[in-house]
Structures are given as C-alpha cells and as structure tokens.
Symmetry: C5
Subunit: 314 residues, 5 copies
C-alpha cells in the first residue's frame, strides 16, 4: 500500500473500463490522504468502502421528512445509529454538529456539510449558500467537507466561484471534499430533468474536473425525449448507466444516494450491491436508514456492512 511502490501506469485499453479509484493510486496532499485513509480504512467497513449517514434533510426539505419516524428529529438518533452501526462517517451541518456531537466526539468521523437551502422556493434558479466554511470543519475535527453544487443552474457562476474558495481552503488545510453534484434549474428541466443519465453523467464529470475528491450522485434514470443527443438515443440498462457515470467520474470516488425511503430491506441491500458492482466506492443513505425504527435501521446497516466487507473488500 506504499504509494511509491505502485505507480499508476497508463491503462493499455486507454481507460474504457476505469477501475475504481484506490487511495494508493491517487495524487493527494498529505492532509487529504490522512483524512481519506481514516474514512476508508479506519472506520466503517475499513476495506476502502464508504458507508455514510447523511442528515441534511431537515434543512433541505424541512421537518416533513421526519414524519414517518419522529424519533429521528432528535439528532441523537442518527448519531447513535452512526456509531453503533459503525458507519464510515456522518454528514451534517454546523448546527447539528456543534449541538449533538460532543458526546460522540472521536467515535464517528464527521463530514461537515458547508452549504444548503430550504426547498420553500422552487429550484428554477437554485443556488446553495454556504452556512459554514472549511475552517469550521477544521475547528470541529471533521475529516471531510460536503458541498452541494447545483450543476447547470442559471446561477452556476455563483456556485462555481463559491466552490473555488472551498477547494482552495481544502487544499490549504488538507481537507477532502465530497461534492453533492446535483443537476438543478430550469435549463436541466428543459433537457430531460435532474435524474437522467445525461444529467448525472454530466454531474460526475463536473465533479472530476472541478476538483472534488468524492462525488455524491443519484442512480441515473433512462433519458427521455427532452434529453440531448447522444443520450436520448441510448438504450442502456440500470447497471450500464451506473457504470457509465462511475467512468465519467474518473478518479473521483462515487457515492450513490438512497433517495426516498424504500420499505423493503432486501431491495435496499440489492441496490447497494448493484452500486458497488458498478464501481461505486460506497453509498450515502439517509432516509432509507433513519426513517426506519432504530433496531430495523441498525439491522439493515449491518446487512449492508456484511455485504460490503465480503464482496468488495480490497
């Protein structure tokens, strides 16, 4: 696992099938390497896979998201789940981190989410303002920061400029960046919507080119008649679409999100398996975890852990 001994070599097939990024093959500053190593090999599955528990829905969607399981409104619930379920990290904002993390300090890595917004206004010109910065993350002992970039929004210029400063602060402090790469806005709606392969594939590449270390994507849907070519004419199944966006992400590790709650535990486990087989480095499942009663959430977590350890370990 010594980086010096395993130099990257140009792939003889010129990268049609990019292997999943491995920490030892990545060009990283020492600080980023230390913190990513902690996330990949010292917590969670500890074999290079990532299982992240996010809790930014209260800001992004409001308390409505918690109606199916009000217990999760108390942030002690997800913190307990993250610790007892042995997650790689918990991802949340500055308010929840400062208010609830004290008693869990050191027992679960923190991905500090830096920006966010409510969903009261629509997303036609979506922009995600920062409510914390990289220095906050350093101050709280976080191992990464999370940043939402609304790709293709009419205000993408604001978003990209804001991200530049985050990236540079991260370079300065050796802090890894997880980009929530979310296509949004009236232009992407006119081109098929935020969920298509076209949108997710573009998002993956943007994360790679702008300098994210990890990108959070959604499972890409098939394109539709509003999608631009060549995507509109593609006929790929789910697994092919997943592999495509992983390839477009290049050396950026991919996490797939869980989206809305699915009550079928088997279906959730199979989803994770499919994502991992497609080259993902892990998943970031929130509502599919903390909207279950605590014991079921813990049980499902353990099934995912077992699967991640047995089949996708390095």
């Amino acid at each position: 696992m010594n980086r010096q001994e395993q130099p990257v070599r140009p792939n003889p097939d010129h990268g049609v099938r990019t292997p999943r990024p491995r920490l030892e093959n990545l060009s990283l500053s020492l600080g980023k390497r230390v913190r990513l190593h902690r996330l990949l090999y010292a917590s969670g599955p500890k074999n290079g896979n990532l299982l992240v528990l996010p809790l930014d829905q209260g800001l992004e969607h409001g308390p409505a998201d918690f109606f199916p399981n009000p217990a999760a409104l108390n942030t002690d619930y997800p913190f307990r789940l993250a610790v007892e379920g042995n997650y790689s990290a918990i991802a949340l904002g500055i308010g929840l981190a400062e208010k609830y993390m004290e008693q869990y300090a050191g027992t679960i890595p923190l991905i500090l989410k830096l920006n966010g917004k409510t969903n009261i206004a629509d997303d036609a010109e979506a922009v995600s303002p920062m409510f914390a910065n990289v220095e906050d993350a350093v101050r709280l002992g976080a191992d990464a920061v999370g940043y939402t970039l609304y790709i293709g929004s009419p205000r993408q210029d604001h978003e990209i400029l804001q991200f530049q400063r985050v990236r540079q602060d991260c370079a300065r402090f050796g802090m890894p960046i997880v980009m929530w790469a979310y296509p949004r806005g009236r232009a992407i709606d006119a081109k098929g919507g935020k969920g298509t392969l076209y949108a997710q594939d573009y998002a993956a590449r943007v994360a790679e080119e702008l300098g994210a270390d990890i990108v959070k994507l959604h499972e890409p849907e098939a394109d539709n008649e509003r999608s631009p070519e060549p995507y509109r004419s593609l006929r790929e199944d789910t697994a092919e679409r997943l592999r495509r966006v992983v390839r477009s992400a290049g050396k950026t590790m991919v996490l797939f999100s869980g989206g809305e709650k699915n009550d079928d535990d088997d279906a959730v486990v199979n989803k994770v398996k499919l994502y991992m087989e497609s080259g993902a480095t892990g998943v970031m499942f929130g509502r599919n975890m903390w909207l279950r009663p605590y014991d079921r959430a813990l049980g499902l977590t353990q099934r995912v852990q077992t699967m991640m350890k047995s089949r996708f370990g390095e």
Copy 2:
C-alpha cells in the same frame, strides 16, 4: 448543575418528546455559556426562563406602532420597564442602544439586534440587511445578538451567507445568537403563508441546523389548503402545534413572540403559560407590554414573572 456530572444520554424513546434544552446539557463555548448563564440565571426570572422585551418595531413597522401609546416612542420607557420589570434582557438595535442605554448600563442585559428593514416595500423578496455586527455587540457589552433570517425568501441565499459570517463572529467572540426565524416571501405565501405550522415548523428546524442558540418563533396557526402535505392534512390543536415546533427546534431554545397587542391581561398571561407548557424557554413580548400604560405594563410583567417562577422553574 455541573456539566461534567450530568452528561447527556441518548433518550431511550429516541427523542419523540425532546425535553426543553437546559444550559447544563448544551455543548457551548465558554463565552456563550457565560453569557447565556447571565440571561437565564442572573437576570429576569433567574430560573432558566427568559422574558425578553424587544424594541425593533420602530424600524420594522415605523412609528405607527407607537400610536396607541406615544410614551413608548421615548426609548427611556422600554428601558425603564425592562429594568423595573426585571426582564431577562432588552432587544434592540444599534441606534437605540447607543443613545439610551448609558444610564441603564449593567442593570439590564442587551440583545443587540444586528439587522432589519422597513416595511415600506413588500416582502415578496424580503431580505434583512445588517446595520450592526457582532463586534458592535461586544463593544456595547451585549450578552447576545439578534438576527432576522427570512426563511424561504427568494433571496435566502443572501440571508444565509450573511448569517454565516454572524455565526462565525459569534463563535469567535463567544456570543450567543438569537435568530428571529421568520418565513417570508412569495414562495411561502404560495404555500400557505408565514403563520402556518408548516412555515413555523420549518423555521424552527432551520434555526437548529444553521446554528442558532435561541430561536424566536410565532405561535403556529393551523395549515390551510395551500400548505404542503403532510401539514395540510394535520389536525392538531394549538398546544400540539406549539409542542411540535419546539420539538423541531431541538436543542435550540424557543421564544414565542407576542405579536399584535391584546388588551386582555388574562389572555396574555394564559398565552405565556401555554407557551411555557409547550416547552418554550420563554417569550419575547413587545407591543403587548410597552403599548400598555406604564403601570399596567409593569403589572402584567409581574404576573408573567410570577407564573414563570412558580411553575416553570428548574
């Protein structure tokens, strides 16, 4: 009351009924703890409840608000009332603080309101500019700052970014933040209006997630046909709605505002009682106090004090 001796423990029912936040259970910097202790235990009811007298209506609504009691136009009136009525703090802006507080210095804690606007233009794209900053508060010996966040406004990105700097300055100086969490703008109007449970519940959670220490909310009204689900279908009474927003505020202490003047003293006292029973840490009543003749205002204040001390002390 030693924080070390009473560590927070995850609630066995996973927080469905969050107990009211208590200072000794909160994660706070030393400076915030010192100042909040002063507000909660060294002034006002002195038993962990907060009784705050606000005076920002002259800027927000104009002198019209004072027509029922012109005496209050002279800021000596509310200062005298705050001191003689033994309030926890007075909350007002930089101009009034600098001009009127000198002779009351040290006798009444100050919550310096940092931003505000007139109501001449409508609130479709409401934004509340800063007219003072945290350093002003430190310079004036304030024990907290007040910040209005217009939740859901089309310009919420500006508001949230501006709040970030306030929160960081507060972290630097150990200054508690009271957030006036006010849903505003055309989007919230289209979703039922600023006064609904949907709006107030979301506001409570935003305060919690963005890092407020105390949040000022309004008594939530029932939702209407424009409110989003699941709120639209909820059938909760006033007490249930109040408890719900207090739960959504999590570890953020809740103050309910008094709104427009109610001439019935008993009704006002009962209102406060209901709020306190619902888990509020206190109230911030302005017009219901200083629009009364001085002696009646003082008398009403004392009734609220008595009730707060006898039934909700720690």
Copy 3:
C-alpha cells in the same frame, strides 16, 4: 454643562413631549462630542442651533438648479457666503471640498457628503452610491459626514448595509453622522409619496434606530388617500406634523431642509422659526440661500441668525 453633573432622568410623562436633544445629555464618544461641540457651540449661532449651507444640488439635480443664479456655479460663492454669513457648516462632496476649500480652511466647518447620484434615471429603485468615505472626511479635517439613505427603496438592503460601514467607520474615528433620510422608490410612491407625514415620520425613526447623530428631514405634508393608516386619518396641522417627526427622531437632532427656492424673505424666516419652535436643532437651506444674489443671501442669513440667537439659544 458638565455631562457628569446633569444625568439624564427618565421623563415623568414618559416622553410624550421629548425635549430637543442637548449635547450634554447625549451618549457620545469623545471624538463625536468634540466635533459636535464645534458645530453647535463654536461656529454658526454658537448656542446649540445649527445653520448649515448645503451644496450637493449640482450632482443631485444637475447645473439646472443654478440657472436662477449662475454665480453660485462657482463654488467660491457658497464658501464665501458660509464664511461671511457665519454658518455652522458647509455640506458638500469630495470634489468641491478638495477644489475650493483650501483658502477657507479652518474658517468654516465641513460636513463631507459621502454619497449621491444624478437624477437622470428615475427614483423607482433609488440607491445612492458612495463617492467618498469616512477616511476622506478625516483627511480633509471635516467635522461630520453626510449620508443619504433612501428609505423604503426596493434596494434599501444595499443602502442599509453601506450605511453600516459608514456608521462603524464613524464610531472608529469619532465622526458625527448627518443622515439625509429621504423616503424614495416605487413603494413609497404607492403609499402616498415621499413628502407625507407617514414618509417623513418613518424616516425620522429610521435615522434614530440606525444610529444617525443628526437627521435631515423635509417639512412633512399632510397624508393623502394612498397613505397607510393611522396616518391617512390624521388631521394635524403643519406645526403638529413637525413636532411629531421631531419626537420620532428621539435623541437624533433634526435639521429641516428648505426645498425649492422661495423668493419671499419673510416667509423663509417664518419657516425657520416654525421649525425651531417645533423642536428642530436647525435648518439646512441651500437653494433658498445661494440662489439669491449674494447680498440678499447674506441679509437673509443674518435675519435667520438673529432669530436663532434671540429665541432658541440655550
């Protein structure tokens, strides 16, 4: 006149009739006190009244304002008038100050106007950009700065934020602030216009709450059918309206402006008398002075001085 010996006491009638602010009763930093003392007691009438000669009309209205008296286009004219007429101060912008003041240096206090605009575009979204800052004022030996705030403009957020920085610089340098508190914009037009009591009364309170030391207002007109209640139903005469806005300005000294030129000297003197009787600290008359031939302007000035000294001295 020792501030320590005459502490402010809460007014027994709770401030319905606020006495005119007196320097010795105001809470002021040493620098502001020094400079205000110079304006109030060491120049002009020297008895606490202010007689200020403004010259910002060339920027605000263009050279058209000078057509009735082209001599005033040469800024030596108002400077001479200010010196020979023994004004309390002259108020103008950076260009005129730097170009014309050298030979009058030390003989007439300067109020450096910091912001302004042309009137070529309309005022629907009025905003007044800064063309100088407080450091310029310090550098030129000014005794106060002037700042125009367009109250109620759709861009009031920009205006208020900009004013915050001016106020803070003034706090740092001990520089008094004269606020030109001007209601402007399409919202105030829709609510009765910029000249009504509603508008001027609100402006007075905004100046008080945002931290102005002195506020320049216009004589309030009666409200009209577009004015909001309770103003719409008020039936007050000119003197009552003047007293009302002075009360709303609280501890902020009020200067009334002269507005357009009135050729009747007696009428002008009576106007000033009425303003002073209503509690104003002084007047800021430009066109009513420098649009007169020099000798008539000087004569009118002396009549105002005499009246100010004989009846309103402290």
Copy 4:
C-alpha cells in the same frame, strides 16, 4: 507662478465667467501637481494647453474603426505620431501600453485608461468595467489615469462606487484623473440623448463634484423636445454651449473630443480653435488624427500645435 504668492480670491462677479483653471491656482497634492505640470508644461504645447492622442477605440468600437486607415491597427503608428507630433500625452489601455510602449518609454507621457467595454451589447444599461487599476498606472510610469463614467446609466451606482476607489487610489499615489464623462443609458436617451447640452452640462458638473482633475466632454448639441427644462427652451449657439459646459466643469480642466473623422483639415483646426476660445484646456482627438495617412496626421497635428501655442499660451 508660486502658488503661495498668488492665492485665489473670490471673483467679484461671483464666477459667472469662470476663467480657465490654471495649475498654480488649483488645490492639488504634490504628486498630482508634479504629474500635471509634466503634462501641461513639459510636453505637448508646453504652455498649459493639452493635446492628447487617445487610442481606446479598438476596444470600444472594435477593429471596424481602423478600416479607413489599417496602418493604425499597429499601435506603433499612434505611438510614433504622438512622439513625432509632440503630443502632451497618449491615452490607451493596459494591453497596448505594456506591449508597445517600451521603445517610447520616457518620450511621451502616458494616460492609462483603466476601464472600457465593447459596443456589442447596447448601452441601455451601460457600465464600464475596470481592466486595470491605479497601481498599474504607477507601475508603468503613467502621468494620469483615464476613467469612463457612464453618467445617468441605470447602473450609475456601480460606476460611481468603482470610481470612488479609483479616486482614492489616485489621492494615495498623487495620480491625476481624467474622466471620460459620458452620458449613457436609456434614461438619458429618454431625456434628449447623450449629445445634448443638458447631457454634456450635467456630465461636466458630475466630473467636478466627484473629483476629476480633467474631464473629457463632447461638443454639446442643441437640446431637443425630449430634453428637460430649462434646457429645452434655451436658444444658445455652439460657442455659448461650449462656454456653458466649461463653466459647469468649474476647476476641472476640459478636453473636448473630436468624435468621428472629419476629412477637412481646416474644419478640424477651426474646431480646436473654437474649443480653446471657449475655455477648454485642450482636446483629445483620435480618429481625426490617426485615421489620416501618417504625414497628413502629422501635418494636421502641427497646425493644431501652432495655433495652440500662438493664441492660447499662458
């Protein structure tokens, strides 16, 4: 010519006929005085008149301006003309200065133009962004900076704020400012257009009030039915209009521009004569010079020089 010995005295006729500003009568910092002396008395006509060769048309209008004389596309052409024609200064932007001036360094003073734009989009909301700053001018050894202010544009607030920083940097570095005072935007179009006496007269006064040392204006046209009063009713000839704007510019030296190319040399010389007789300090003629073949341009330059020296020397 010792400034101390010739103090400015108030003009007995109160300035109806302002004499042309003379360096020894102006209030200037030492740095500005040094540099303006170099422009007025050590280069060009050397008798207090200014003959400036501008070359910003390539950016402002595109290469189309050079079609009548492609030779001028090579910036060596105007530099040679400026040196051989003994101009007071050449005025151009950062790219041309850095790329072409090296071999002429020290032989021709530079007025570094700091802002500009293309004319591809229309001027309804014209704004002129900075592409260089005062430090660039200092670094290149310039003797003045040039700044375009679009007077009356809907975005004049941006323009004026930007100019404030330029003016302050110039105060700091002792750098004279030449303002291209250009009325622009839909509001001035609605009031008669950018070329009227109303527009040019206002522009002259704005330059004076905002702190320009020299202002570049256009020959004012007669007003039209869209012009505001009192201009609309004025009946002045060209010479009267020219004298009027020079008076409005006060102590700001006026340069008139040449506008589009006029092929008649005599007409050009007569134009300059008229401008000088009207009180201008000089002219800034670009296309009327460098769109002529080199030898004709040089010849015309010499005729202008001769006229300036023989009739308007100090």
Copy 5:
C-alpha cells in the same frame, strides 16, 4: 536573439502587414519570458510554434464529447498523447491537473485553465466563473494560465473585472495568459453570430487591448446580413479573413482552435498549414486529436509537427 540588440523599429508601412509576434521583440517581464520561452523553444516544435492539446470539453460540453472515443474519458489518454506526441503544452482544469499529472510532472508543460462552465443553460448571458486562480497555477508548476472571456456578453462587465484580477496576478507572478476570446451572448447572436469575421476580429483586438499574451480564436466565417458594416459588405476568402484577425491581434500570439472533429487527416493538416501561413503562432486542437484512436491521433500529431518544423520554423 538578444532583446537588447534587436530593438523593435516602427514598420515603414505602418503595420498593414504585421509580422507574427516573435518572443525577442515582445515587451515581457522576466517570468513571462522564461515561461513563454519554455513553451515556444523548449517543448513541442521548439522553433517558436505552438501545438497545444486542450482538454476542457468535459466541463464545457459534458461527457457527450467523448462518445466517439470513450478511451479519452480517462485523462491518462490525453496526457500520454501530449507527452508522446511532443506537444508544446496540455491545457486543462484544476481537477484533471491535480488528479492525473503527477506521473507526467516535468515532461509536458501545463496551461492551467482557470474558468469554465457547463453548457446546460444557454449562452444568452454567458459568464465563465473561475474555478481556479493564478496561485493554483504557480503551485502546480504551470507555464501559463488559460482564461475564457465571453466577449460582448451582457455580463461582460463581470468577465472583464474578473480578468483584471487574473492579469494582475499574472503580472505579479510572471505567468503568461492565454485568452480563449469567445464572442458570446444574445447581442453577438443579433449581430451575425459568434463565428463571423466581425465577431472573431473584435475578439482578437479585445485580447490585444486587455493584455493577453496569447489568444485562442476560431477560424472566422464570412459575415452575414445581420453583421454590422463594414464587415457585412466585405468579400474576403478564408485566408484573407485569417490574416485579418491575426493583424487585429497585433502583438498577441494567435492560436486557432480545431472545433469539431474532422475525420479526414489530410484536411486537418491542411487546415493547420493555412492557419500557420496566415500568421498564427500555432493551434490548439483537442477533439480533432483525442477523439481519434490513440495511434491515429499520434500519427496526425506527427504530421502536424513535421509541417510546423519544416515550413514555419524561425
């Protein structure tokens, strides 16, 4: 080749035919000279010509651009091609540089692209936000920075201001600037479109005037009926148009881009030949290279190299 010994002399024909800029004749800081020498004489053809391989299409157009040759999605492909094909430099953004360049460090000069955007929203008000800055380029050992300026966009003021800071940082660090001078936005569409001679000719001059060292242009198309005069009436062939824009670029070295993929190798080579004969300093061909299979791309590269060396060497 000693700059001191070969001073530039004004061209006797006044620059109608500007010779291609040569490094020894340019006014450059030492740092810029060192880095440009490396690009022009120490890599690529090494005889003053530039052959640059760009890879910013993944951000600008999305992964769709790679569909004809998915191998190029792996950035190792273009890096290998640049190294083995002996390009003068590779041009790409911060993410790709940091992630893929480590093993090629020192073997291929880097032009770090500083700004970019997606093409999801249309270009009516195009603006290209910065995602990296000049310090990033210095930190990565780059030999130039790339900056896209959307010429004529309604938001050109933002673009030009942003470019000012880049130019100044480049002056500070001695870093050459390559400007992607791209006409864009609804105004240029209304005037004939981004590809016309009018548009490209203006773009060339803007690069020259704003201070670019190298400008990337597209082959100019003939103008059309929407183009402004005098362009609309021009009847020039491709070679004449190319020479015209090179002349307008003055002392700014011109690179022509390749645009969309052309499958005919001979046609590509002839295109390059035409560009070089027209006075270009080189080409920046991306899709015409890396969308070919690796061996064909390498072969085509070598043909271009041979041609550049044999006919256009200095």
